[in-house]
Symmetry: C2
Subunit: 697 residues, 2 copies
């Protein structure tokens, strides 16, 4: 008996300790009660659905759950009809999504009262992995790639690989993600060769039962680089044939291959313009190759040249004239803002402007500009703000969400992409709270009208709850304050990094700390912060009004007029659209300079508040996760102070105005910060062969 | 006319700009009015006295000032009798001190109503320079030595040398300092050889007109090291003769040579105990050699061995039994506290305990343990607290001041020493506010009953006032807040470094940041912080009560009982005398742990407050000094936070109690701090040949 007990204790302990490292994400082991699952069909996916129910059932003991696959007009795509004990869907994938929904409802205590139909907002809910075939990840802060290795035997598929890929797929399926682009958009062409494609097939085989399709980033120069053809001109017959053959080869290995993601004529990548062809001609050629197999092309609109006077305008200028020229299996992938995943940008004016073209939003889950895996920043609020932005392109209420999910414009395909924050770190994302961004992306991709508060509450309950129904004490002392912290965290980051519409003033090398001063003489101007903040003795901010670059004109009225006028422009975007005087009077009655000071300071104070909130949760969370988050928050706090001090002391050189004396003084010296910043290894020259590792996207 | 104007402007500007670098200390150029000075005698010193009056006179225009040298029973030593226009003294040095007093009164606006007699508290008011003959300074944070150079021609005396030495002597004279020990107490024996003595003579020649005598640190092993004698036994006739001859040689060059400072049998230095002789036998032998010339021996009581159970007790145990055995030209130099210049120590129990021996206090002006030349810490309040400490050795009111200035015990000689903070930095001390500590030491050495408030006010007026009588605006917005900051600064440092009686928990290498964790396995225990803080699961602090080392017994009643009892022991000394439980209830009602947290936090908050105070003075102070002080305060603020975080997180490992949640959380990680601390170059092994550069004193 004694021996038995000890074994039980050890097993319990090891399971418990395993759970505390965060590897289980929001899918933690529960003490399930017994359930009986009935389904007429038996596929790998249905087997998973059954297993999940049996493993995590928290409903009525010994209940019978019926899974039905039956077409239904009310059910769209991956959607399902759900009651407490029935799930009906068009496909076994739909059933699986319904299972995860049912289990989530049980675990978060959200009742299912009547039968509900739950349909996804987007057909394709895709993670873009910026993973290089050597195992590194561009802008990855959670260790190396889960798909690729640098070692000699890098293409050998191990059982450990497959287990990890299944875990990954399960996590995706549980929140509705159904696609993965396995390699960096700054693509290495080798991925299209047979050795790599075999590994892609192996990955696809593990992901398939969970409904996750694989996609690849395709380099436009592939026909020359690996096909031996002299040109890559998209109208050249040899080139066209090469891509058709390549598609055929891929689909022979992976019948449900999702398609290509292409970054063309952007930051040095090859593209159709190298042959005087348009983006449409390039994209269509590839789309035609994929068409027979149901594949799509996701073609990025992230283009800008150094010669233009305003980078923010260029994607619009380049793509809007092509509206209507794309094949119906091409979808233009547009970053949420006009520049590049900054802490806050207004929505890209492309949304809603291309009415005859499928458009998909691209957001960044990995925190390239938001503190990497060190800062606790819940990005859901940023994405919610973006998705709910009204473009007015088809009248009031033409939100970005509605402009992209097919409810306003006819789109053959709808999709949304998020740049993944996933790596080999045992907790997947490098920061326990960064998992919430993976979760939130999936949930919003499934339902683009969810609120961040709902998502945060779900995630906290699934991730930290010990029991399906925790005490009111837990709710008051853990759920409520932690949710509050998450919901405030992005605005805090905006405040201590780039408040009031400031953007792209980060340190050039890592995109981590402040760097408003960074401007080497020979550097492309549009890669240096002074290009964006334009600080001078008069004021600060980029004049994008009709007296400046007139980027405001790309917005539909009434936004054009609203943004153009400094009195009506929302203060959150003030310095995005205006070069405002230091003594410009803000709505608070303060000068712009003072307001800037208060914003930076508030950001710092908020992070300190987060530290207090977290420290108070100590008795409600396991030691391992508690200490890791506590330590990260300390770094974030120091870092927020660096941002505040660096930016205020730098801008003060222009404003010549004192930092209001009721604000805590800077503790870092500007000269020292600049010295430390420029002392770091510079990123490689823009067009060197190393650019794949360190470039913007 | 135009050319003339421009010249005037340029002259004005350059004089102005020169002043702003701080080199003029508290002796800034004033726009003097005309004065007529009358003196019957004409010496180099009187010439200086006249020049100072003419240069800085702020009294009635065209007044006649009469300087008289005439013995007077009421005037003691360097004292003087002062009215608005007359100065009478025993010597021309006394006249010079009177001149500086008169000018200071004019510049600070303190009236002289009736004739006053002003006498010094101590006969000898000495700066100890820990300057090595290679030009480095042990615990010097203001550049290299003003006396010694490392270059080949290091002994050549230049005009620049002489000018600097005169400026140094003038500054000393202006606050009453009349002696300088020119070399490190960890002495290099070469200073007693003729080449070095010639340089000492050159220095003495420049210092003499200002009344500053030179002294030397003498190494006890000199007879062997440079005399070729086999022993240094103080009772050996050859040794005795060698020192007599050496004294004769020195006095031939420098007739007013002050004498020797000796660190013997301390931290590896040679001494009489090497020959089984007592400190008294060693000191007396040297005193006999100096006696014919009026020289004295300042013999340090800073001795401790690794074997004893409490370092704090050892000086007392070693020296008290020798009371009455010393020659009358020996004076025992005792550090203010029993350990070593910590931010706060109770007074050394030797004060008042040796009633038949001359004792002199040694304080540290250089901020070895108080933030070097980075932290703004006005030390006057520490010295005032020390001098006013009641020893009860001759009944109530037996303050340390009265025990050492001759008012309670017969002492042939009285003296006080301060370890200098002076180097080649253009502002002399490395921090503009560190000048106030040089100033305060001189003022307290002259008058050991002055208040720190008085000293701070004087120094601020002399150092920052543009005009002799500044506006009330200046008083309200500069004098008052800056004085407040200075007066609070030492308590702030105690709070963020070592509150509640904690001591010696600094980083081992630089004695700068926190290092409570530092304890390499083979290190002498009494050189590691854990020896001093004794933190364990029960509590923290060194038990020096009757249940512990019983160091309390070295204090005279009622102090013995007061310190021995945890209920009556002042909380400022709690952890000095007691190993108190983490949950010990403090007078505030808080636990010891909480109180510790609040102290550390308060220290940090205070430095932030100093930053605000200083920032608000911007319009009242020149840009050069404003910016330098502002920058130092920023570093101090960061550093205070490191102290708080390092100490609280370290001690929390023992207390296991939460940091009160209304306190700002740590932003630094303990592991990281320990790693950074131990990553720095270790100081050389205790008895290596390099020890002179890095040892404690």
């Amino acid at each position: 008996m004694k021996i038995f007990s000890r074994t039980v204790v050890l097993l319990f302990l090891s399971a418990y300790m395993y759970a505390e490292n965060g590897h289980d994400l929001w899918l933690r082991n529960k003490n399930a009660v017994s359930v009986n699952v009935v389904c007429a069909k038996n596929t790998a996916t249905i087997a998973i659905a059954k297993q999940e129910l049996q493993q995590d059932w928290q409903g009525a003991p010994n209940a019978s759950v019926v899974l039905t696959i039956k077409p239904d007009k009310a059910i769209k795509g991956d959607g399902f009809r759900l009651s407490q004990t029935t799930i009906q869907a068009n496909s076994d994938y739909g059933v699986l999504y319904g299972v995860y929904e049912l289990l989530r409802r049980q675990q978060t205590g959200e009742e299912i009262t009547a039968a509900e139909v739950v349909n996804p907002s987007y057909e394709r809910r895709v993670l873009d992995h910026w993973d290089n075939q050597n195992g590194t990840i561009e802008r990855g802060y959670a260790g190396r790639s889960i798909f690729w290795r640098s070692t000699k035997d890098s293409l050998v598929v191990t059982e450990a690989d497959k287990k990890l890929w299944r875990e990954y797929a399960r996590a995706n399926a549980s929140v509705g993600i159904n696609g993965s682009v396995l390699n960096n958009v700054n693509a290495n062409v080798d991925v299209l060769t047979i050795d790599y494609l075999k590994r892609v097939k192996a990955i696809a085989d593990e992901l398939r039962p969970y409904g996750v399709k694989v996609y690849l980033s395709a380099k436009f120069s592939a026909p020359s680089q690996i096909g031996g053809i002299k040109t890559c001109d998209p109208l050249d017959p040899e080139v066209i044939k090469w891509w058709k053959d390549k598609a055929k080869e891929i689909y022979r290995l992976i019948p449900d291959f999702g398609g290509f993601l292409v970054k063309a004529n952007s930051e040095g990548q090859p593209g159709p313009q190298d042959y005087k062809r348009t983006h449409a001609e390039g994209a269509n050629m590839m789309a035609d190759a994929l068409k027979p197999y149901g594949g799509i092309v996701m073609w990025r609109a992230f283009v800008y040249s150094a010669s233009d006077n305003d980078r923010a305008k260029q994607a619009y200028e380049e793509f809007v004239p092509l509206d209507g020229q794309f094949r119906d299996n091409v979808i233009i992938q547009v970053k949420n803002g006009p520049i590049d995943f900054q802490p806050r940008e207004p929505f890209s004016p492309l949304f809603g402007a291309m009415k005859k073209t499928s458009l998909m939003p691209e957001v960044q889950i990995t925190q390239e500009y938001l503190g990497h895996s060190t800062h606790l920043v819940f990005l859901s609020t940023m994405w919610e703000e973006f998705l709910k932005s009204d473009t007015y392109q088809a009248g009031e209420g033409s939100t970005v969400a509605r402009c992209t999910d097919g409810s306003l414009f006819p789109q053959k395909h709808t999709a949304i992409a998020g740049v993944a924050n996933i790596g080999l770190d045992v907790n997947w994302c490098g920061h326990h709270f960064a998992q919430s961004n993976w979760y939130a992306f999936g949930r919003l991709a499934w339902n683009n009208s969810l609120t961040s508060e709902q998502i945060a509450a779900e995630w906290i309950k699934l991730t930290f709850q010990q029991h399906a129904s925790e005490s009111s004490d837990w709710q008051a002392n853990f759920l409520t304050p932690v949710k509050q912290m998450m919901l405030e965290s992005r605005e805090a980051a905006v405040s201590y990094m780039m408040p009031l519409g400031l953007h792209h003033i980060m340190s050039a090398n890592e995109h981590y700390g402040p760097g408003p001063w960074w401007a080497p003489k020979k550097m492309r101007k549009d890669w240096t912060p002074p290009y964006y903040h334009q600080a001078d003795s008069i004021g600060v901010g980029f004049n994008r009004t009709h007296t400046g670059s007139n980027a405001v004109a790309q917005y539909h009225e009434p936004l054009y007029s609203q943004f153009d006028n400094i009195e009506t422009c929302p203060e959150t975007y003030l310095l995005w659209f205006h070069h405002a005087a230091w003594n410009h009077q803000m709505k608070s009655g303060r000068t712009l300079w003072s307001e800037l000071c208060y914003h930076y300071d508030r950001g710092v104070q908020q992070v300190r508040q987060f530290q207090k909130i977290w420290d108070k949760t100590e008795s409600y969370v396991d030691a391992e996760r508690f200490l890791q988050v506590q330590s990260k928050l300390r770094s974030q706090s120091r870092n927020a102070q660096l941002w505040k001090d660096g930016c205020l002391l730098y801008f003060q050189q222009f404003s010549k105005m004192p930092i209001p004396y009721d604000i805590e003084r800077p503790v870092n010296d500007l000269e020292e910060m600049i010295k430390n910043d420029t002392r770091r290894p510079q990123r490689p020259a823009a067009f060197s062969s190393n650019r794949q590792l360190n470039q913007a996207h």
